[in-house]
């Protein structure tokens, strides 16, 4: 007899309980034995996935990169439609004279937390070879940038004139422009990363319910009034098969910064989730 399929997720916000409780009920309605455990940060979740203590992990892109390094056979089983083709941007004040990344030489660039793919690791790739001072806003370290606070603080520092540029996700530049964190029309985007992928449902071992679990996710219908509120909370309109090709830039960034070594050991300086 096998137990329920056990999934890990990181509790970056209280709503995570609402989301996965809802999914648990929804899977139960479909006769799939599903349970979840919550982690306070991604590193332990990855370690538990690789050790076989959980059967699937709702992983950040950075957690996926580490999973892959620790367990090369790991698969990305599913992802949200909203996890595909994100970009991050390098933003300056509109009235500055800075035109491109090279102009930031010896300037101060604000980023999100040390472990944020979209707020730090990926956009800093735009500044490769440029001698800049990085000012990190360490909010929610260990949450791999799921907490928006670091990017927001970076944006505030830019608006306040404390830094010369700030890094953020494209959607957060839109959000901050709308909510006034960045005054309308007062910022300019000087560089944008190529598209990258975000979270995925990572699996390592085998579980008899895994195939059905993924099939149910992919069949989840936004037209279903029971599923839709969960999808709205989790921020997707449909689940897609996992795609492993969208993490190359992050792999490169992890290698460049030495965030993890080739076997997935945490080697980042001063990173304490």
């Amino acid at each position: 007899m096998t137990g329920p399929l056990l999934m890990g997720a990181v509790a970056y916000d209280p709503k995570v309980v609402t989301i996965w409780d809802g999914f648990r009920r929804w899977f139960d309605d479909q006769d799939l034995a599903f349970d979840y455990v919550l982690y306070s940060h991604y590193e332990r979740q990855v370690e538990d996935l690789v050790a076989g203590r959980i059967d699937a992990a709702w992983n950040s892109p950075l957690a996926w990169v580490r999973t892959r390094r620790m367990a090369p056979a790991a698969r990305a089983a599913a992802m949200r439609d909203t996890d595909r083709d994100l970009t991050s941007v390098l933003v300056v004040r509109a009235d500055s004279t800075l035109e491109g990344p090279a102009d930031l030489r010896r300037r101060v660039v604000a980023t999100g937390a040390v472990d944020s793919p979209q707020g730090t690791l990926l956009p800093l790739g735009l500044l490769e070879g440029v001698d800049v001072a990085v000012r990190r806003f360490e909010v929610g370290v260990g949450l791999h940038g799921d907490h928006i606070g670091g990017e927001r603080d970076a944006a505030r520092a830019l608006a306040a004139g404390e830094v010369d540029a700030a890094c953020m996700l494209d959607a957060n530049h839109l959000l901050f422009s709308r909510d006034g964190t960045l005054p309308a029309g007062r910022t300019r985007v000087i560089a944008q990363t190529p598209p990258f992928d975000h979270c995925n449902m990572s699996v390592v071992g085998e579980h008899p319910l895994l195939e059905r679990f993924v099939a149910l996710l992919l069949a989840m219908d936004y037209a279903d009034p029971v599923a839709r509120p969960l999808m709205d909370l989790e921020g997707l309109t449909r689940w897609l098969p996992g795609r492993e090709s969208g993490y190359g830039a992050l792999e490169a960034a992890v290698g460049r910064t030495g965030f993890y070594d080739e076997r997935g050991v945490v080697t980042a300086d001063g990173y304490r989730p």
Partner: protein, 398 residues
């Protein structure tokens, strides 16, 4: 022959020009508007949109399930799916036979996106129980007929004989507790009426506001002469409490508004005609106008309910008998009130006036009984049954 730009447009497919509007400044409204007019999966070229468009377009589209290639948006089906199972909460201009709990607080005629928890507690959800075609009109009249106690009445204290002023205060003491009952009874049902039957809820809230004003003006008149309030008789209070105990809407409405407030129409009209002072006459007049609407509404919704469910008549009759039995051991209208009405109508402390007042109160009670009987006949009771039920109505009037 096609001109240049038109030919180009035909070749590139539909476009939307945001002009200077960025997506952070409302430009997405134009895109969504254009996409809604295209089949799912159609490409839409986005022009203009300010310097942030390349960044914001993909961010905006991604969250809504659209795809983006350069400045072309390929519309997804999330918006359609969101409303896939949606139905309208009835027709805007017509009320439904039954209002499902799933409609919740939605406006009548709104498209109800499924997925919210159902409305709990609105068990009066059938048209026949609550609705009347007169509800919209009566609500409009009620809204237009709201008056301000501060300005609608000249509150100059009258100068009356002590005995007459004491009688007026006793009548006010009695009226206030009756008005409080008239406020409490519909208040208990308003939250149980499904909001689909909007005008009924609206009407009843004006009824509550009316009763609140009645409590106020009778209180102000009671205190106008500087005298303490009179007696609240045990029998009268017991009678009113049976109204609050009535658990069902049709019977509660029948006992309160057809029989009770119906009887009060005679009482208020009596007070207006025979008041010893202009303040009492004026407030009785204002309250009478409001009460006439309350009675009209109850008569209307009960008539329609009886048409669709004739057996309701037995429940209504049984409620009158039950209440009568419950009150058998109580005094009904206290002597304090009865005597005070006679002195109030007398208007002065003399043998002749007191005799006249006494006679007037006697005919008032006859008139009340006749008017109750007429209303019962209008609801479809036989003459015989109407007389019987009218006689069983509480001697406390309300």
């Amino acid at each position: 022959m096609a001109t240049g730009p038109e030919a180009a447009r035909a070749a590139t497919g539909p476009e939307v020009d945001l002009g200077p509007l960025g997506i952070d400044g409302g430009g997405h409204l134009l895109i969504a508007h254009a996409l809604a007019r295209l089949p799912v999966g159609s490409p839409l070229t986005v022009l203009g949109g300010g310097p942030h468009l390349p960044v914001h377009l993909r961010a905006w589209a991604r969250e809504r399930g659209h795809r983006v290639e350069g400045n072309v948006v390929i519309g997804g089906d999330a918006d359609h799916r969101r409303l896939a199972g949606a139905r309208r909460a009835g027709a805007t201009g017509d009320v439904a036979e039954r209002a499902p709990a799933a409609w919740g607080l939605a406006a009548r005629g709104a498209i109800v996106e499924p997925g919210a928890p159902p409305l709990v507690g609105a068990d009066l959800d059938r048209r026949e129980e609550v609705w009347t075609e007169l509800a919209p009109k009566l609500y409009a009249q009620a809204a237009a007929g709201q008056w301000d106690p501060a300005t609608a009445v000249d509150w100059t204290p009258p100068e009356l004989a002590d005995e007459v002023e004491v009688a007026v205060v006793q009548v006010m003491t009695y009226l206030i507790e009756n008005e409080q009952a008239a406020l409490a009874v519909p208040a208990r049902f308003i939250g149980r009426i499904h909001p689909h039957y909007r005008e009924v809820v609206q009407f009843l809230t004006t009824q509550l506001a009316d009763e609140a004003r009645h409590v106020e003006v009778f209180t102000r008149r009671g205190r106008l002469g500087g005298r303490p309030f009179g007696v609240s008789g045990a029998g009268g209070r017991a009678s009113l409490l049976t109204l609050l105990d009535e658990p069902e809407w049709p019977t509660a409405s029948f006992l309160l508004s057809v029989l009770g407030e119906g009887t009060f129409l005679s009482l208020l009209s009596f007070l207006e005609r025979h008041a010893p002072d202009p303040v009492t006459a004026r407030i009785a007049h204002l309250a009478l106008q409001d009460e006439a609407r309350h009675v009209a509404f109850a008569m209307a919704h009960l008539s329609e309910h009886l048409r669709s469910d004739p057996a309701l008549r037995y429940r209504l009759a049984a409620a009158v008998r039950r209440r009568h039995d419950a009150l058998l051991d109580t005094a009904g209208l206290s002597d304090h009130v009865h005597d005070a009405l006679a002195i109030l109508a007398a208007g002065e402390w003399s043998h002749e006036a007191i005799g006249r007042g006494w006679t007037l109160v006697g005919s008032l009670q006859e008139e009340m009984n006749e008017a109750r009987g007429r209303r019962l006949v209008r609801l479809g009771f036989s003459e015989h049954e109407a007389n019987e039920l009218s006689a069983l109505h509480t001697r406390n009037f309300m």
